[in-house]
């Protein structure tokens, strides 16, 4: 009997080949995810560009930029005095004239009559503030929107959301509910800044950047620390509240019960739709007291390594989280060059800095 070796692969060889194919597919998947994220970031860039153009068209029509928070009205249901943000004014310029016209005329929702201009931005009975009327272009595709539903309000659906936040300068003073505008950032309470106020140059001044929604209760993204007294003199205290590697707040930090950053698309309170350039992008946010008080409100996004930002000239640039943000331990300055490096300089309209985001 002659023993003849058959040609072909042994079982071990086949298993090894399958294992290698498995490894290669495993390598490919992250690349696909990265490509998908790159596409989302480009779409986000485009949406911010639309808001940049909307700002310019608004400024053409009214000779001023919209205010970070404004509004009128008192009475019952509660009006939106100084609590409506620039998004409402920009609606007609992002092809949402229909929604804008509805807001600007009296409405009846859920059996309640609302005056023209709409009620307070947290009014759950007013459907136009709800997710039923969500403007798609306000949410960054990399972001997972979480509408405000605190205390069981917004039962018929969460509030409309936005991933985009207006630049309130490089300081904490006045960056709070109904705070006084300091003429340092492009937006603030009843700011209505004009092109001529931007003496640093429109290409060196940020208009809108991102603040994203939380994924997880102690994630630095989309969550805010409350009751951190002392951050006005020393904003670095805010950095000490988080683990920089895991991007989670430490167990000893007091995380606010409010989800912040765009959970109410039309609320002009800066913690909802504003940011200040004190700590570099994707850093923690902290307030000196409760949710209405002033503090550090940091631009954040789920894009890898930074945030998108539209400047006052309408250009959109990606700002790296390793941008020179100066000395985070320095107290704020309300005039002159920003102590917070290039990042702070880009947030001021009249700091007099020579800034380029390449540095």
């Amino acid at each position: 009997m002659t023993k003849r070796r058959k040609s072909g692969f042994t079982l071990v060889e086949l298993l090894v080949v399958i294992a290698i194919i498995g490894i290669l597919v495993g390598l490919l998947l992250p690349a696909v995810q990265a490509a998908r994220e790159a596409a989302r970031r480009m779409q986000c860039t485009n949406q911010l560009k639309q808001f940049g153009l909307a700002l310019h068209n608004y400024a053409d029509a009214f000779k001023k930029f919209p205010a970070g928070s404004a509004g009128t009205g008192t009475g019952n249901p509660k009006g939106n005095n100084n609590r409506i943000n620039a998004m409402v004014g920009l609606l007609p310029y992002v092809e949402e004239s229909g929604l804008y016209n509805m807001v600007q005329s009296p409405q009846t929702f859920n059996g309640v009559v609302f005056q023209a201009g709409g009620p307070a931005p947290w009014e759950a009975r007013y459907d136009l503030w709800g997710s039923q009327f969500q403007v798609k272009g306000m949410n960054c595709p990399s972001d997972s929107p979480v509408g405000d539903n605190r205390g069981g309000r917004w039962a018929a659906g969460a509030a409309a959301t936005t991933s985009y936040s207006f630049c309130h300068g490089d300081h904490q003073t006045g960056v709070r509910d109904q705070g006084a505008y300091q003429r340092r950032g492009l937006f603030g309470t009843r700011s209505f800044a004009g092109f001529r106020d931007i003496t640093d140059g429109t290409s060196n001044t940020m208009a809108i950047s991102e603040r994203c929604f939380p994924k997880g209760a102690r994630s630095v993204f989309g969550n805010t620390i409350e009751s951190l007294t002392g951050i006005t003199a020393n904003p670095a205290l805010c950095l000490a509240q988080a683990n920089r590697a895991t991007r989670q707040y430490l167990p000893t930090a007091t995380v606010s019960g409010y989800r912040t950053g765009g959970t109410r698309a039309y609320d002009g309170m800066p913690i909802y739709t504003g940011f200040n350039a004190i700590l570099p992008p994707n850093s923690p946010s902290c307030l000196i007291g409760n949710i209405n008080t002033q503090g550090v409100m940091t631009a954040q996004s789920w894009h890898t390594g930074g945030v998108n930002c539209v400047f006052a000239d309408g250009s959109v640039r990606f700002i790296s989280e390793s941008i020179n943000a100066g000395n985070s331990g320095a107290p704020e300055k309300l005039s002159g060059p920003s102590p917070y490096g290039i990042w702070g300089a880009l947030a001021t309209i009249n700091g007099g800095e020579v800034a380029s985001e390449d540095q």
Partner: protein
């Protein structure tokens, strides 16, 4: 045997490319060099947990921060977790305060609800929390060991 060589080469390539892939935050060449810095905080002889420590470099225009653990130990971070601080003379602040928000949880202050004032208790006196008034300094050197003891009274 040539089949086996091919199989080996492929597996090696596969393994190499796995180790080649890594993401997360990376060092930026524009950042100045930092040196590992740590220390302990005690107040009236007791180790203090949860105190924020900041080292502000008086020359380098940068600040490192840390928070103490249950034994009062801290490790400072400037840009990346536990990367230390820029060498040179430092102004130090140490802050440990209990702040209790007395506003009831069901009052929605973001919707116009009335907030009660915060109740603030300084565990370490307030003056140590202000860099300009703390009177605390340190000198971080390139050679180390950069381990500092702050025994506050």
């Amino acid at each position: 045997m040539s089949r086996w060589i091919l199989v080996h080469v492929l597996s090696c390539l596969g393994t190499l490319s796995i180790f080649g892939c890594s993401g997360s935050q990376a060092e930026n060449p524009n950042w100045p060099k930092r040196f590992k810095t740590s220390g302990t905080v005690t107040y009236q002889g007791k180790a203090i947990e949860g105190a924020e420590v900041t080292f502000t470099n008086t020359q380098g225009n940068s600040t490192g921060t840390g928070k103490t653990d249950s034994s009062g130990r801290f490790t400072l971070t400037t840009h990346l977790q536990h990367d230390g601080v820029v060498a040179g003379p430092q102004v130090v602040s140490i802050r440990r305060v209990d702040v209790i928000d007395k506003t009831p949880k069901d009052v929605d202050v973001s919707a116009g609800g009335k907030a009660l004032p915060l109740e603030i208790t300084w565990i370490i006196p307030e003056k140590f929390s202000i860099p300009t008034k703390s009177g605390l300094t340190a000198s971080v050197t390139e050679s180390g060991p950069n381990d500092f003891k702050f025994e506050l009274k």
